[in-house]
């Protein structure tokens, strides 16, 4: 129904050309429309991109990742990793205050991580990302040591992540957990003003921000679930920036005269995982044939408005571990049919794709895939499944059909994240197992403090997975924003965190 609605509106919007200039809002206040309300502003309680796109303006971590995915100093001015990778010393910025006036110091850092790794964090989704940290020690007011239980090559990047945002100890202790959930306080470029759950959150500029006050006076986020409704708000001037723009709406925005599309390569990749046990896809020749049957670029052009890149492994070009030399299976239906015949797969053999029903773009992609498979003689059916059931009952229990959707957006842009949970034994996205060699490679790169060695091993992982054709890697999506013309200086980051310090509004 939702899908139909979006398409109806898109069609209608194309027909409607009455777009005029947006009415003036309060000066210097930018309004963003996004799909989801994270509903809780505590960093340890969330994993939602919807949280990061708002709260990246409220909180800071010790380090920060910029638009080019380079690590920059955040609340730490510098850091030093010991040779064995078991100790990291941070020198903290001086004179920084939380929005409530509470000073930021080494105690706040220790409090943040004790909380994350202790009871409070245990009831939330962030803790498991940081369990390589054994303890945090206060050396003096502006120096902290992180003691690691084991070397973690990705820990610095993860310290720029949601769970590692520094929180104010006194405020939380005095006001209580529930108050903090709904009234966030951090050190970031914008201060929290008000929150109307399910509807909007309002922020104002932090004039004392250590990195300089932001260009805007205020920021408002509105939570609007329907794709079409978010666009109607943009076109009627109710919002200035829309995130999560549906690909089907891209041509409409491009044709509009008061708004434009801004897109950036994102972390999210789409693929079909193949069942490597007790199925016709057990045979690697069949899996390779399925790979050769699909024209990825055609899918991107038809359903992503061209806003994507074909992939050869389960990662995009920005990912650490991406191997530019690795080429995906070329689209070759003839060769696919020959391989199927060699493997003894009769024409008309039935297979099924299990996929998550909620995503309208992937619904269309899945339908097109059945056409590609039909062209090589296979009779492939579709089995859409509700998200919760798919993630709980189908995949981890190994109850899938021959092909099932795997889409992932490793926030760290480090292939370790995606590869480990897709290929390592016992992981939820690997219900059918891979190989001992794969397990060893994955473990080896986790132990290595040398990033060059790691990169090489991760590339080997990608090549091995390609060789074995565990998946049909499809594409890496771009993240698409629709931006009103009066918005200036908007440069989106690939990690979908909307840090709007440089953005301003034209008069």
């Amino acid at each position: 129904m939702t899908d139909l609605k979006s398409r109806l509106l898109t069609a209608a919007l194309v027909a409607t050309t009455a777009l005029t200039a947006a009415p003036a809002l309060a000066q210097g206040t930018l309004t963003v429309a996004q799909r989801q309300d994270p509903a809780n502003w505590d960093p340890v309680d969330t994993f939602l991109v919807a949280w990061g796109s708002v709260a990246s303006n409220i909180y800071d971590g010790l380090v920060r990742r910029d638009e080019n995915l380079e690590l920059q100093p955040g609340l730490a001015e510098s850091w030093e990793v010991s040779e064995d990778g078991l100790k990291i010393r941070f020198e903290l910025r001086e004179g920084v205050q939380f929005h409530n006036g509470e000073p930021f110091d080494a105690n706040a850092v220790k409090y943040t991580f004790d909380r994350l790794l202790g009871d409070v964090g245990a009831a939330g989704p962030q803790r498991s990302n940081y369990t390589t940290i054994e303890s945090v020690e206060v050396v003096d007011d502006t120096t902290v040591d992180f003691h690691m239980a084991q070397p973690d090559p990705v820990i610095l990047t993860k310290l720029a992540g949601y769970g590692a945002m520094i929180v104010p100890p006194q405020y939380i202790e005095e006001m209580g957990q529930e108050h903090f959930d709904m009234n966030p306080v951090g050190t970031g470029p914008f201060k929290f003003v008000s929150y109307d759950q399910g509807a909007r959150i309002e922020l104002e500029a932090n004039e004392e921000y250590f990195d300089g006050a932001p260009a805007l006076d205020g920021l408002v986020y509105r939570f609007i679930r329907e794709d079409a409704t978010r666009l109607a708000e943009l076109q009627s001037g109710g919002v200035d920036l829309v995130s999560d723009v549906a690909f089907s709406a891209v041509p409409t925005i491009e044709a509009a005269d008061n708004a434009d599309i801004v897109a950036v390569s994102g972390p999210t990749i789409y693929s079909l995982a193949l069942k490597t046990k007790d199925a016709v896809t057990e045979d690697v020749r069949v899996r390779r044939a399925l790979n050769m049957a699909v024209d990825k670029q055609a899918l991107i052009d038809a359903f992503l408005a061209g806003r994507g890149t074909p992939i050869a492994s389960l990662q995009g070009e920005l990912s650490f571990g991406h191997d530019p030399e690795l080429e995906g299976y070329a689209f070759d239906p003839q060769q696919a049919m020959a391989l199927l015949q060699e493997a003894g797969v009769a024409p008309g053999t039935e297979m099924t794709i299990d996929y998550r029903a909620g995503n309208s773009t992937f619904n269309e992609v899945a339908q097109a895939l059945t056409g590609f498979f039909a062209a090589v003689g296979l009779n492939v059916g579709l089995n859409p499944i509700e998200d919760g059931v798919f993630l709980n009952e189908i995949v981890p229990q190994g109850r899938t059909n021959e092909m099932f959707q795997f889409s992932w957006g490793g926030w760290t842009f480090d292939f370790d994240n995606t590869a480990y949970l897709s290929y390592h034994e016992g992981e939820k996205w690997n219900p059918y197992g891979t190989s001992e060699e794969m397990n060893e490679l994955l473990e080896e790169q986790r132990q290595s403090p040398d990033q060059e060695v790691r990169e090489e091993i991760l590339q080997q992982v990608a090549n091995l997975a390609h060789e074995e054709a565990y998946h049909i890697p499809l594409y890496n999506e771009q993240t698409v924003y629709a931006v009103a013309d009066r918005v200036e200086g908007f440069v989106p980051a690939p990690d979908k965190r909307l840090r709007l310090t440089e953005v301003s509004i034209a008069e």
């Binding site: 809780n40 009831a123 919760g388």
Partner: protein, 308 residues
């Protein structure tokens, strides 16, 4: 007092319905997926201990009947407790319920204001051009889905004319498009009910007697016929209330209306059991209460029901 015992009987029946509904909902939702898995679905390095810790934190490792008992105790005492992901439930649900009821009642009012006069007109001018027009319009209204109407209204009044806000709830003007969207759909069926029952009543013997006594057309139609035909309409409205609540969900989505439907959809996606249980139970209470109200209204409308 037959009325009191009647009400008492219905209230006891309603109690059983509610126990059955809440028990079923609480039980069934727990079969559809684990909130701990949903919560960690994007996390890396998840161990079974992590999942267990979250289940413990959310109170999900307690026996089902203990969880259910807590939930019912909360409903009865009004202490709705905490949701899994979104803080305290009471303010969430009361806000959403207010918004949904406001929309439902306004839509109903819109619908009755249109359907009663038009229905009477059509019935008293049977076969005329006006009657045909009313019938065609109501059939047209039944034939297109309500979200489509909503989207068209947004395109005309928000995107093109910029008279009304396309979404959210910022003031009375926000109510207009959603209420008209639902109101028009309700009107299509209500109109047909009013027309058909009016025709039926108008051809019955007591109307002929009334006319024979020399009563004016106005008196016959509005005093005698309308009152008698309202029984069917009231019954229908009571039955319609349940599907109205269902239809609201879609329209709430189109207009980003902060109501019960929007709240329930979010809760289903996150497997936030406490919110979902509460929302469904409150909707069940409402539907049961409305039907009780309908039964009571019969007594006001028809003295014969009172005597039975």
């Amino acid at each position: 007092m037959p009325i009191l015992s009647f009400i008492l009987k219905r209230v006891i029946q309603a109690g059983f319905v509610l126990i059955a509904v809440t028990l079923f909902v609480s039980f069934a939702i727990r079969l559809t997926g684990d909130p701990a898995v949903m919560m960690l679905r994007e996390s890396a390095n998840v161990t079974p201990e992590d999942l267990e810790r979250i289940r413990e934190g959310l109170g999900l490792n307690r026996p089902f009947l203990v969880q259910y008992g807590d939930f019912i105790a909360g409903l009865v005492t009004g202490d709705l407790g905490q949701s899994f992901f979104r803080g305290a439930i009471a303010p969430l649900v009361s806000g959403a319920l207010g918004a949904t009821l406001l929309l439902a009642l306004t839509s109903l009012a819109v619908s009755l204001l249109i359907s009663i006069p038009l229905g009477i007109y059509a019935a008293t001018h049977r076969g005329s051009f006006g009657d045909q027009l009313v019938r065609v319009l109501s059939l047209a209204g039944l034939s297109f889905p309500n979200f489509w109407l909503g989207i068209m209204l947004v395109l005309i009044f928000s995107v093109t004319l910029r008279w009304l806000p396309p979404s959210g709830f910022t003031g009375p003007q926000s109510l207009i498009m959603p209420a008209v969207t639902i109101g028009v759909i309700l009107t299509s069926t209500n109109l047909r009910i009013v027309r058909t029952t009016m025709l039926d009543v108008l051809s019955s013997q007591f109307i002929m007697v009334a006319r024979a006594k020399g009563l004016s057309q106005t008196k016959v139609v509005y005093k005698h016929a309308l009152r008698n035909s309202s029984i069917a309409l009231v019954t229908y409205l009571g039955l319609q209330f349940g599907s109205l609540m269902g239809g609201l969900v879609v329209v709430e989505l189109v207009f980003n209306w902060p109501g019960m439907g929007t709240l329930a959809i979010e809760a289903i996606a996150q497997r936030d059991y406490p919110i979902l249980q509460t929302v469904i139970s409150i909707l069940a209470v409402l539907i049961v209460a409305v039907n009780l109200l309908v039964d009571l209204t019969y007594m006001l409308l028809d003295p014969r029901i009172r005597l039975e």
